[in-house]
């Protein structure tokens, strides 16, 4: 691209570099973000010989600028002349990978990983791998930390001698004397294991895993747990028991709750990795212990996994294991002292019914659901209600409806508006499952009560809820049960309630269709254009704009237009504005 454009000379590198040196950080940042433009202006040759050396030499800037630089360089391959020259990008990225600030370093490593794929195998050995080695033996912990993320990208494509060196470097970092580096190594152990040949997984990785999993710092040990899961997926079944299980068993009983938490959190992955036999013999008792752990954090993490764990149990013994081992623990968790534990359980417990079938659900699970529906913590009750669909499939919701109702009513009147909001969101679902009759009888009045809630967010959600209900139960139902009540509020002394009528009409007109809108809603809206409160009047204009498309053109011309014209000459500036807007949108001018 050396096409000697005459205007190339207009932008000598000095000017650009001047911009990169500007005192104002914001300007420097802007320039760095436009680095590709600068490179393009310079052409590939000068980018390689002038711009990159400059960038490499002047890395001392603010972290924000460095972050932008690190990100840019990851996309620079074409700008330096393609994969053939990609290694020119390594020196600046190497410096960035040693910076203190974590986000900069991580971005530099990300970019390095990206461009590593653009290196030819030869370049990888000549340029990339030496860089990894330099970082791995850096003085300050930052460069060693960065090195940990680079081993796995170059390992698969280098010769066996270089591979041996890479393994050696990784081993060294796993026993680094700063915990930061050990943590970085532990978090990349699984990834590195995946690119290694199986013999080396067995000979190298296992010993590193065992060492990291018994590190003196719990923050290192807990990262080893995740690596353990990845390693387990790589090994043949017959090796698991000897090579990883002792360490994983030990992790599940670690004295630090953080490590046990990690085990609980990764339990489903672990279960998949080790297969059915080990699950039956080892994981079931381990899971029981985690469900009974002395720290609530651990119990909550385990409770979250109850459904997934049970689902993935081997089919032949699933029911027996659940009934004899898991369910007793679950029963205890229902009355746990910690609300987070109960609420974690409540978010998954309903899922057990599909696994256990109708009879067991009625006999064993139903009492638990009912107990949780009466729980003092609203989050628990909400989680149960939000998962009703699982139970509905198995035993039908009627079994629950007697207890459901008081729970819903209580949540509907909860002092916290966020709780009320959450229950409103489940109303359409509940309505669908409980049927129109039950709904009319028990829940309709609640839905109407929310329309006059003192919190706007609730009134808004209630309006939206009505729309969804109409979509479910149809226009006729709307006309008989909802519309009269909504329209009745148009005469309320409180202007907020009068506005709610308008908001409801906005939401319902489309679902109710032209006839109901024209016959019942429009007259009310038009009448409200005489309201004494300006907010109501301009909302009339907004409503007319909204429901206009549902009405026929005759009605628009004869009824809507005169009212909007009147509002367009209102004394209030906002009313005028919205009336004019409606006129132009509905093309009535």
């Amino acid at each position: 691209m050396a096409g000697a454009d005459s205007d190339d000379s207009l932008y000598p590198i000095a000017v650009l570099i001047d911009e990169l040196r500007n005192e104002d950080v914001q300007l420097r940042l802007n320039s760095i973000k436009k680095l590709s433009t600068i490179a393009l202006a310079l052409g590939v040759e000068r980018t390689r010989t002038e711009l990159l050396p400059f960038l490499t030499d002047t890395i001392y800037d603010e972290d924000e600028v460095l972050l932008a630089l690190a990100e840019q360089l990851g996309n620079f391959t074409m700008l330096v002349g393609g994969p053939e020259y990609v290694h020119c990008l390594l020196p600046p990225l190497e410096s960035l990978a040693t910076v203190e600030e974590t986000v900069v370093r991580d971005k530099a490593v990300e970019s390095l990983r990206k461009i590593s794929h653009e290196h030819s195998p030869v370049d990888l050995e000549v340029h990339f791998e030496p860089l990894v080695k330099r970082l791995a033996s850096g003085d300050w912990f930052t460069s060693r930390t960065s090195a940990c993320g680079l081993f796995s990208v170059c390992y698969p494509r280098v010769s066996s001698t270089v591979k041996a060196e890479i393994r050696q470097h990784f081993r060294t970092l796993c026993s680094d004397d700063t915990p930061m580096v050990r943590r970085a190594a532990a978090s990349k152990l699984g990834e590195f294991a995946k690119v290694l040949e199986l013999e080396y997984v067995k000979s190298d990785i296992i010993s590193l895993f065992t060492a990291l999993a018994s590190d003196e710092q719990d923050s290192v040990r807990l990262l080893a747990v995740e690596a353990g899961v990845s390693i387990a997926t790589l090994l043949p079944q017959e090796d698991l028991e000897a090579l990883v299980m002792p360490t994983l068993r030990q992790a599940a009983e670690d004295k630090s709750w953080r490590v046990r938490y990690m085990v609980a959190d990764k339990f489903s992955d672990l279960q998949k990795a080790v297969g059915p036999e080990i699950t039956k013999n080892d994981l079931v008792p381990a899971f029981q212990n985690l469900l009974k752990d002395c720290e609530a954090e651990v119990r909550a993490a385990a409770a979250n996994k109850v459904k997934e764990f049970c689902e993935n149990l081997p089919e032949d013994s699933r029911e027996t294991i659940i009934m004899t081992h898991i369910l007793p623990c679950v029963k205890e968790l229902v009355s746990d002292t910690n609300q987070h534990v109960k609420s974690a359980l409540a978010s998954v417990i309903m899922g057990l019914s599909t696994i256990l079938g109708k009879d067991n659900t009625i006999e064993h699970l139903l009492p638990l659901f009912l107990a949780q529906l009466k729980d003092e913590c609203p989050e628990v009750r909400l989680n149960i209600i939000s998962n009703l669909d699982c139970v509905n499939e198995v035993i039908g919701i009627r079994q629950l409806s007697q207890s459901l109702l008081p729970a819903i009513v209580e949540l509907a009147e909860d002092a916290k508006w966020r709780v009320r909001l959450a229950i409103i969101e489940y109303m359409p679902l509940l309505a669908g499952q409980l049927g129109v009759e039950f709904f009319d009888e028990k829940l309709n009045s609640l839905c109407m009560a929310w329309l006059v809630d003192h919190v706007y967010a609730i009134r808004e959600a209630a309006t939206c809820n009505l729309m969804k209900l109409v979509e479910k139960f149809g226009a006729e139902w709307a006309q008989n049960t909802i519309v009269p009540k909504v329209l009745g509020m148009a005469n309320d002394p409180n202007y907020l309630h009068r506005m709610t009528t308008l908001f409801c009409i906005n939401a319902l007109s489309e679902a109710c269709g032209q006839e109901i809108t024209t016959k019942h809603m429009l007259p009310v809206v038009l009448k409200m254009s005489n309201d004494q409160v300006a907010n109501v009047r301009f909302n009339v204009a907004k409503s007319l704009q909204k429901i206009g498309p549902v009405l026929d053109s005759n009605c628009l011309q004869t009824e809507v237009k005169p009212v909007l014209e009147k509002l367009a000459s209102d004394l209030d500036i906002d009313v005028k504005y919205f009336a004019q807007e409606a006129i132009s949108v509905l093309a009535l001018a």
């Binding site: 205007d7 207009l10 911009e19 590709s36 202006a41 074409m78 923050s219 002395c294 609203p378 508006w417």
Partner: protein, 479 residues
Amino acid sequence: MFISMKDPKAMSSAATTPPSVDKVDGFSRKSVRKARQKRAQSSSQFRSQDKPIELVQLPLLKDVSAQEQPELFLKKVQQCCTLFDFMDTLSDLKMKEYKRSTLNELVDYVTVSRGYLTEQTYPEVVKMVSYNIFRTLPPSDSNEFDPEEDEPTLEASWPHLQLVYEFFIRFLESQEFQPSIAKKYIDQKFVLQLLELFDSEDPRERDCLKTVLHRIYGKFLGLRAFIRKQINNIFLCFVYETEHFNGVAELLEILGSIINGFALPLKAEHKQFLVKVLLPLHTVRSLSLFHAQLAYCIVQFLEKDPTLTEPVIRGLLKFWPKTCSQKEVMFLGELEEILDVIEPTQFVKIQEPLFKLIARCVSSPHFQVAERALYYWNNEYIMSLIEENSSVILPIMFASLYRISKEHWNPAISALIYNVLKAFMEMNSALFDELAASYKSDRQRERKKDKEREDLWRKLEELELRRGIQNSDGVIPTY
């Protein structure tokens, strides 16, 4: 923090507050932040025991003969290895009381007695202390624990723990205590566990730990480098990984006196600690909790070695807060502490970037920031430095001061600015007049430069666009 729980505060008290309160007015309670109850929690490793604990009641030390005392003392120390569950307030009441009185007795005994410290006492004492104090700290109760607002969670077993700490401190301070024997037991592993405990939420415990660590640092020369290195690691992890560690202020306090004792010239290791660990600590969000201790450490370093002034001030400039005005005020305070001890030769080296920053601060729209910066002009020593270098500083400051004197929304700031301008005028009236005269044309020149920059970028973009069209094969990344 470590585990994210869903919105615990939003949900927590819903069930306990009577619904009627909120029904009246949704906003009424917002103003009254509910005082969180002080809660206690105990060690995470404690798993409840089923059987009650029985300890054999031993006679009092003062009731036995002097020869029998050392043996009885050891027995009592061993008894104190037994741990009790303090979350269960009803269990083992009698035995808890017995352990408490035994610990009390041990504290008194090590304070006044002589000759009890036989060689076999050391491992037993260290073992007892380890059993009692080393434990996995429990998870923090709320994820957004704000140490300035929230009450800390207190350690439930404090009635015993306090006495154990007290006993250990007296033991370390005892005249008969011999580090040469004790170092076999108080080793690196012991210190590492001790340092981890500084994350305790209970300020009483951190206070005891501070004394313990200080004594160990003083008496065990072989552990000093190790302790410093581990504190380094804790800080680095705090700054770059977790932003959470409760004992930073306490550790800095110990470091303050450690730095004080550094021999001159400072070793490279110590300078690296200053630049790569202490300065980055300024970036942490919860700086206010340990800023006083941190600033003290920094000033200690500068008093030891004034040539460090330049890297320190450049470090502060690098980490200068961009959005948090509270932190900016703290930084300005620290900078004044540094300027109080700065040597004139060092001042000259750093004055340009420094006063560019101060110019930015005095024109901050946040009046507390502007005010804090303007207070520098009340500091006689700083004034004398400014006066000596007014020919450099005045041109840097002038534009900001001149503009702000007319524009600042806060009248108090305008008044302070006026005084500063007046001071400058008195210092160097010729230069002042010159700057005032060229103010307008300077601004014009700046505007022209801005326009040129815009033009440059526009042309570059055009060029890029043209190239993009020419090179239809390559996708050109633009950001």
